[in-house]
Symmetry: C2
Subunit: 478 residues, 2 copies
Amino acid sequence: MAERQDIHPSVQDSLQRVTELLHKHELAEGHAHGEQGPRQELVETLMHKLHFVELRKLLDALHSADIAYVLEMLPLEQRLMVWNLVAAEREGEILLEVSDAVRETLIAHMDERELVAAAEQLDTDEIADLAPDLPHGVIQGVFKALSPGEREQLRAAMSYPEDTAGALMDFDMISIRDDVTVEVVLRYLRRLDEMPDHTDQLFVVDRTGRLEGLLPVNRLLVTDPGTPVTAVMQPEPVKFHPEEKAQDAANAFERYDLVSAPVVDGEGKLVGRVTVNAVMDYIREETESDVLSAGGLREGEDLFASVWKSVHNRWAWLAVNLVTAFIASRVIGLFEESIARLVALAALMPIVAGISGNSGNQTITMIVRALALGQITAANARKLFAKEIGVSVLNGLIWGGVVGLFAFLIYRNWQLGLVMMGAMVLSLMLAAVMGVAVPLVMQRFGRDPALGSSVMITAITDSGGFFIFLGLATVFLV
Amino acid sequence: MAERQDIHPSVQDSLQRVTELLHKHELAEGHAHGEQGPRQELVETLMHKLHFVELRKLLDALHSADIAYVLEMLPLEQRLMVWNLVAAEREGEILLEVSDAVRETLIAHMDERELVAAAEQLDTDEIADLAPDLPHGVIQGVFKALSPGEREQLRAAMSYPEDTAGALMDFDMISIRDDVTVEVVLRYLRRLDEMPDHTDQLFVVDRTGRLEGLLPVNRLLVTDPGTPVTAVMQPEPVKFHPEEKAQDAANAFERYDLVSAPVVDGEGKLVGRVTVNAVMDYIREETESDVLSAGGLREGEDLFASVWKSVHNRWAWLAVNLVTAFIASRVIGLFEESIARLVALAALMPIVAGISGNSGNQTITMIVRALALGQITAANARKLFAKEIGVSVLNGLIWGGVVGLFAFLIYRNWQLGLVMMGAMVLSLMLAAVMGVAVPLVMQRFGRDPALGSSVMITAITDSGGFFIFLGLATVFLV
């Protein structure tokens, strides 16, 4: 697939040329609509066509992934103009490469016939990746065009949930029988025009299709042709089941530096393979969605999405935030009398809430990461609690001392300083306990601790910090 | 290197067995220190030894990456116990696999001789990866043990800054001359016992060492042996320079689904290669450090670091946060008189600051991501500003309406509700403008916009939100 041309250093250049050509085209169009003689109009039209021809040539020379990159960066109108110039037989591949948000905009401007044609150029596992974004009619159309074997593959590929090894799987593997020699394998391979991408090894199966071992392609080259396959293959390879978590597969790829790995069903029969490029894409998407959700976005946003779409995408987290802010506001409301008597409390309270929020987020970041790596067990959880509480007490004394001094210097009230310090220690301890507990509890209830942990800890440290500080102040100062 | 044993599904089991054995060992030790007859003591000592023997056997069967995983999860004392049982010839590999924080704890407990021995088992590019953590004397010792060619490689590998393609590079490539036939290549390969990991292609060079093209190993298998290498090689491959940004190399690997790629110097001479496993490790480390710094941690923390070490690691961000909190506090201080007259302001002000902080973080997350992907140009930056301001005004009216209503319902004061709403619109606009501007300015001044953008926007929206809300209230209400 991937024609390795020397395009990598020049993607930026290509993008610049695309935008230049689009710009010229726009200028030409602007002129064409102005007042002018028929002859000038003709010249403009020719110019206009010339830019299109040049643009099309430029696009044809680009790798599909690079065209995807260019499409991501163009505002909607220009994006569709470029999309119309892309050769029809490359549309499927490019749709696979663009982000979900941009894919939506492209698909919305294609009719069913075009979409079926684009999907048909892809492998079944790739069609399955695209399927959630395709209208039902298109999928039906694609099904009709497939062979019975491919239909079976597509049905299987579409049946695996997004976060399973099955969703990462492709069917482009070469499998060989275990009762042949290396020579037979070499002869078989020579009959193929080309091996599938990422074929670093062949899969050795018995007559029923059960996976017996792996035969690295590199070993084929250094082995005597008369050797039986079973003598050079690696038995007991790392293998996955389609229902297995994609994250576990990704971890195995990283840990054991794999390029490809077999997928077997419950009976040990080879059903597909996972390659490192599918794993890289998965890792990228996962970390991206973690970053987005940590930033309060529901999903990746087309840079040039309409204002309305953006508002929609950001709605949910703002609403959650509003609720937690209302709660914090009512906590403060409880102590309005105290604040009215000692207005310094209003100015100081955000410090306590802010620092404990920050500290709680530090703890939670560490715990969420350790959970993702599977590093937390029942045995070490208690040690972690103890450590985090130790850290929070030490931090509370240090930073509480600083803020207490700050309060004293500004308001010349040493009792206020002491209350500040006490509140810092207590609310940092709260942040530490909840910073460990929140992700553990979420995990226990089967939820992803990376999603929403930060919002929850901030809500707790805000309301909790206000309550502790204003409560202590009410008891000791007012 | 990577022996592909069927260890992947059983890492969790192994960990459990390791901890069980350690636990038994501890129990045995506990007994041994109790009061008992000499015979019982002997039994305990034997038990104790047995556990060690069993543990060592278990460790020998594990992949280095899995031992690293186990070490990460053990508290310091047990970790060192296991470390002492690891076969000496695997120590180098394991040191490479563990996290920086855990590596430090292991290195701290090895003497110079052990460290030199461990490093000597590694390839030069791997030694270079380890070098920053090794005492100077160890590096000297390793240098002495290397051949002149390897010394040159190590010196080169150590000279590339962390974020360059050169730092990802290894020297395990097979290069062939461009004036031979496929048959010669096959004969040459057969003389090798084994090809290096991730050898999906050979590098074709001319007599001066300049890279001419790539010869995929898979193509060797399907090509007639009489064919000249130049007829089957891929000319003009994707290649990198050692000084190039590692991120660009990683992007190219993802985009073009590469397994390996050549690195050439300024004259086009082949100096090394980058493989997909180095890229995956790089991506993992990058996203990890982004996540950590977003959570306010300076670097990865050993789960069982001492309280003191943790406090140290988290110190910097808490200090920054404290300064911004102090500033926000002084902004509120400016309006203490207004608050004393209308104490509801104290309860309502965190809502304005909180929501605009959240909204600003949404904007900044999107912009930082787009910058990392190279999607923002001078041409589209203005469009982005316009879009984000549009979103903020719409959000301001929607959420401002909600919080205004909230304020009215609680305090029965419609002017207060209107001020709330106005303050929301203005501070969301501030968040939008700064959410776009802060990362762009950081980028312009050559700083990584992913680091600290979030802290900065929160500081701005806190102080700004308080100022806008309390300012409007002072003008219109008090």
